[in-house]
Symmetry: C2
Subunit: 198 residues, 2 copies
Amino acid sequence: MTRKKIRDIRHEEFIVAALEATHKRGFHAVTMSEIAAEIGATAASINYYFGSKDQLMFETMRHLLRILGATHKQYLDVALDPKDRLHAIFDAHFDPRFFTPQHCSFWVQFWSAAPYSAHLERLHRINQSRVKSHFRAELAPLVPAPFRETMRRILQSYLDGVWLSVAQADRDIDPRHARQEARSLIELVLSGKVGGSN
Amino acid sequence: MTRKKIRDIRHEEFIVAALEATHKRGFHAVTMSEIAAEIGATAASINYYFGSKDQLMFETMRHLLRILGATHKQYLDVALDPKDRLHAIFDAHFDPRFFTPQHCSFWVQFWSAAPYSAHLERLHRINQSRVKSHFRAELAPLVPAPFRETMRRILQSYLDGVWLSVAQADRDIDPRHARQEARSLIELVLSGKVGGSN
DNA sequence: AATAATTAAATGATCATTTAAAAAATGATT
DNA sequence: AATCATTTTTTAAATGATCATTTAATTATT
């Protein structure tokens, strides 16, 4: 089974270690040694596998984006109607695998660091426009064009805001509750007697 | 006339410098020298006036919180009915003095740094519960009790999410548009046919 | 034996902070 | 106004600590 995979194993281990150590110490404060210590290794081996600390953080973020994308896809695959497809976006973001202080905290710190690193900003922009176009597509059959962009921005800001609050909570959060609340907001938006131009 | 002490002048100058330099270079990356250079001074004088870099960042955040509080008060003073009072919260957060990439960016970076500094976290908690109780108070006459907390969390997450998006935009944002959009969401929330699933 | 993985120790760079001294302001006394 | 002592403000340079990264050698795998 596992034949020539040490490289892949370490890759994964260090990414998990980076998530854990970053959550404990902060995106900027965390040191190579602390990350390595999570799995009983040394800082030098991170460079052996990743080349640099920046690259490790970059790969860690890419890892989160991949999981998010795959999770979203899973929910889309079982969606039956337009409203389900809209729910799928929130269900993915509020999936138990994601919706933890650990992940949200890494995410928020990544957000706040992105504008200062060309490398990270590119990742960030790609994800932003991915989510944006998904929202647009799912809202199209549900909300009349004049209100659509307003509703999209409301939903997207809300989504980001919820993650922000989870990142700051030390207690664990209940994903089911977050989903239910998102559904409340979606109902409001779809009942929509309000809007603006653009 | 106002015989301002040098100490107060420098205090203010360095706080403005911290905002500017932090926006340019990032909360963690920015150095004492870069901040001092904003006003043609040297790093040592920051320590003369503030004692440490941490303390300067702390005071800078306190400064933003003070302005926010005072602005909110101004809007409350001219509010005529419960809905106006609810608008006041958003109007304060979206006041032109605040609603700039520079301020929102400092704010978001502060948010993401707060969990790792006892000093900063205290500030953060104080502000969070201040905003929370304002929302509760203003929603009380407008939303039936069973839905109130849900609506509050939706509005608060939305508010945070909007600031997050401004922090990431490099182009300048139109405060009037943000207020209008907030009013759209408020109308939705008050038209409220929501709760669990219906 | 040859290659891959790992590490301890060295390197070098960056900074916040301290120190000691210089420069400006203050103000009291002519 | 001018002098000079005192205090406040400012800085250049020194200090010391922290780290990411590199190197060279060691250990494990194939």
